[in-house]
Subunit: 343 residues, 4 copies
């Protein structure tokens, strides 16, 4: 089968012809329908994930995958050949405290496909170690939903962490309207009565934010961000800031927009360090939380939203052999929404 | 009556003879039994609270007060002359969202005694604007419990914020064992099954920590802090770090000690800025929360602990006229526990 | 002024001419714009509230009131003559544990207008003991929003108690689509992504439920309730049942519809006793919670929803002198939505 | 190997000689060190669990087991032959919503050993379907900790559900001081600052309750229960009632003891129906929750408590061949604490 693999950090992926793996025990072979291309893949290719995960090269990249069940090990239950499935990528050990708490993506010894020692989804087939990592996706097309397993899942978890804080007179600030942000807007509107403010960099992003349901859009190329936020929130600040970028300037805006007892959720990985002013943080009882990917049940809920027709996606498709082109376009900031590889 | 007042920032307090205020409406005149001396008072005297609270000089300092009811306005209910009372100091407007949520100390227009326009407790009498700020303290001596209204209350709130995260195999790290820290140790032992690690600077503090019930004591003058924490926690890190100092180095230790999904509570005000590494914060889903003072019900609970004989205090008493001496001793770091003024 | 008062249990209200009360201290005189007529008023008139509240007759009935500020005591802050206001009716002592926790409607010594010793809103004017019980309602007409202070508030609190349990694949069951139920449907749609099933008794109620946004409507006069719920939920049951009636049969349906770990919220007062099967409750970890009225902040949020134009009401207006007619029509089940008295 | 098996409902267990099962895949063969005898086993033998679980006879009874690892399938990770282990008994499918939420004991298709189709622990060996159901118990003797897997685990979960509601001035009421209750007292003292009231039937139970740390003991054979509770709680009632019996009379006492906003946790299975008065439940916002067994992490925490020497047990040992004698003694109410079978 064909698989786009990384042989050396800093080098482009290479489309190799390798053997199709064999399903046994609890594992399932999935014929890939689509594989999302994520900024994390670019970071991975530069070697930045080595410190965090136990990586072994060469490796087939891709952690955002959906497809159809092709072959099942003898212990697999509840699935049939041909079933459309979304692949939960936060593979864990299944027995540490976090796994046992239903937070497998926070496993103490993670085994993420395409980012550690397990081959990912930039390939014709992917071997999933257990059917317990598959989410049924009847009635949905794998190529369309592949991005839901990360770009769609990550903001969903973030929104669930804070939705109980949001009331009809609450405001949410979202910085970063790309693959993740466009879902975040939709989730806030679906799960809470809050008004959503988004900060965008240009007209095109502004249009996307509007289409996804943002109530207020601040365009950094035209508006005075601070003044606008004050005007919209009547100088009270926002209840929740969701920073999908986490660069120095977006973080500064996020922190300074918070209301008393406000919450900042960190999802992005662009910057190095968040600087929180201590006096302000204590006096106002600010809260800051990192939010990582999502768990299995959360993916199930995202897939439900898709099945119910409640969320829109904006995907751009590439054939597997054009993986280089897709990555280049992503790196140069020219993908609107998510790039998806089709083997 | 005598009252220690600030006339000018940067100058020492002056013991003035002023008129005894008159109780009317809902207000209550309290004969001060004891008034705790807090680091915040030192900051206040330097002018550092002007940016945050609406201050008017001259002002009688002191926000940590207990005493006996002396005189009551005509609308006061449920109190009698002579009742021993602890004074809740987080006076608020009573109608903003935070006040109405029972978090008056987080009021959007705070009216804290001794820190804004309302005279505080370094005085023979203090006028409390409403009986709704008084906590009954039958059977307790005001001079002993005055520090409970802040030094005892602040860590109590902090502990309550996290106690639900603490299990029998959890670890808590407390940095800063002075007035607040010695209560914090006791509260963690009373409200959770976690093991408590404390970081102290010297032998004397180590003894205090031990007396208060700490399970593990790390003395920075003798031990390698990081190695010790790793050894104690089996390299897993701590579930909760409570930073009562919030200086650059204690914060760095606190952040780097956190376990996956760990929580850092900020209570101290010594440093300027908390620096959180973004990658680590997201990947490990760290949580950071500021915690401010405590609310009325929390003060009630602290007073209950005192009444039940479940907490120990370590107070050093000064007469009101020696307020200068008390402040000097506090500033030079020579108060073990809390200094209390007796008018 | 005119006021509809109860002089004796079991007798109809009498429209008396009495003196206009005088505002002083913190109290505010409100010129009544509208006063909602509630089932609780009927119960009250039969003497059923005597066991619970400290009642004194004669009393002006009415706990669901909005109007304009007419006169203010000398301690009132933040309001001006003529301000439109919704009156929070859960008047409490302000110092017990529940009041201090922001749950004044659960005060240990309640002072509800029109239900205890305090005159209510079936009147030209009502004296509110403190401006802290007033919610600003700029841009809204008191007669339209009076029902929001109870019929609109009670289901709002109930929905907030459970919204965090509701996911995109969740189901909610609402029994009882009258004044409260029509708001409940809207709140679930605004605050959660769950699908809403409502049980109604006739075509007219079915139409109302549909208009308010119910996803599934079961008409007891036509459908087999159990079969329908099974069909809709794929035999899994509902995550949350909100029983606004609490009669023997609705409770039985509610309990038997629950999913594993499901929650039943009791709001209605029609029946005597809820019967929970123990084995089922333990094995499935059912939860049951009573929900009472709402607190001040919740009323503020409901008023925000009205101001934002996000909720619809269905009110029928009567002049104050026709109070008898309004009560008769309510008792005979012929009010669609809420009856509102206009003085 | 020898195994005590049920061949027919209503008949006594029969000690059979059967083949030792074989570990393969993820499964682990455990040499039984001790197997607790539970009231549920008596119910099971009468056929009462048929409606709930998918049972197949003959079956080796026993769901409360600890032992040593004897043999491991080829996919087992992290365990070695000879390791002492506690067996988590709430075996689930691993993929339903509850399993994936870390609540395997609430699995939608439960596979509990000794209560369904899977052989239990009244045997020399037990085959555990996955190493993910084993909790390490280094330094502990399996025969001593077997009861912790149910008698010790069930009240632990119940206490964790409510501990966040408990403050220094709170009261807890425990009805039923046998195997579970004696742990419940200890957990409340370890995890909360509340005062514990226990209701016992005789002097012997009173002594046990005292030894375990109860603050107040009410002996139904001597005291007026209602009066005593009122006296102890100053007529406010208890914050939490934990009913470990759930008979008609204990439930009635539990419900009527609740404070406003109080919570009743159901753990026992003796009665048929809980009767909640609706008016009282709504007006006081009572909460009722069933609590079932415990999850894997909770078992881990209980084992931690044992390892730390923080809990006491009261076990009575029988050899496997005397299983009949043990069950008789249990049924006649003459086991103090827990009966444990030693193969």
């Amino acid at each position: 089968m064909k698989a786009a693999r990384l042989h050396q950090y800093g080098k482009p992926l290479q489309v190799d012809e390798i053997n199709i793996p064999k399903a046994k025990g609890e594992s399932v072979l999935v014929r890939v329908g689509g594989a999302g291309v994520c900024h994390s893949d670019l970071h991975f290719m530069k070697g930045e994930w080595q410190k965090i995960l136990d990586v072994k090269l060469p490796l087939t990249v891709g952690h955002e995958t959906a497809g159809h069940v092709e072959e099942m090990g003898e212990l697999v239950q509840g699935f049939s050949k041909g079933d459309p499935v979304a692949i939960f990528g936060g593979w864990g050990c299944g027995i540490c405290q976090n796994c046992k708490d239903g937070q497998e993506q926070l496993c103490n010894s993670p085994r993420w496909p395409g980012l550690s020692r397990y081959d990912g989804g930039y390939s014709e087939y992917i071997l999933v170690p257990s059917y317990r990592f598959l989410v049924k996706a009847q009635g949905l097309n794998p190529k369309d939903i592949a991005p839901l397993t990360d770009a769609g899942l990550t903001p969903y978890r973030a929104v669930k962490k804070v939705r109980n804080l949001l009331n009809p007179d609450s405001f949410v600030l979202i910085t970063g309207i790309g693959g993740l942000g466009s879902y975040a807007i939709q989730y806030f509107k679906l799960l809470s009565p809050a008004s959503v403010i988004t900060i965008v960099r240009n007209k095109k992003k502004a249009n996307l934010a509007k289409e996804m349901g943002a109530d207020h859009i601040i365009n950094t190329s035209e508006d005075d961000v601070t003044r606008q936020i004050n005007e919209i929130t009547n100088s009270n600040g926002v209840d929740v800031a969701l920073d999908i970028v986490c660069a120095k300037d977006t973080l500064s805006t996020s922190v300074n927009s918070l209301k008393k007892r406000g919450t900042l959720i960190l999802v992005g990985l662009m910057g190095r360090t968040l600087e929180m002013p201590i006096m302000q943080s204590v006096m106002n009882e600010y809260n800051v939380s990192g939010s990582l990917w999502g768990n299995y049940n959360e993916l199930n809920e995202v897939i439900s939203l898709a099945r119910l027709g409640k969320i829109k996606s904006s995907n751009e498709f590439f054939s597997l052999k054009d993986v280089g082109k897709a990555m280049e376009k992503l790196e140069s900031g020219n993908i609107a929404g998510r790039a998806v590889l089709i083997p």
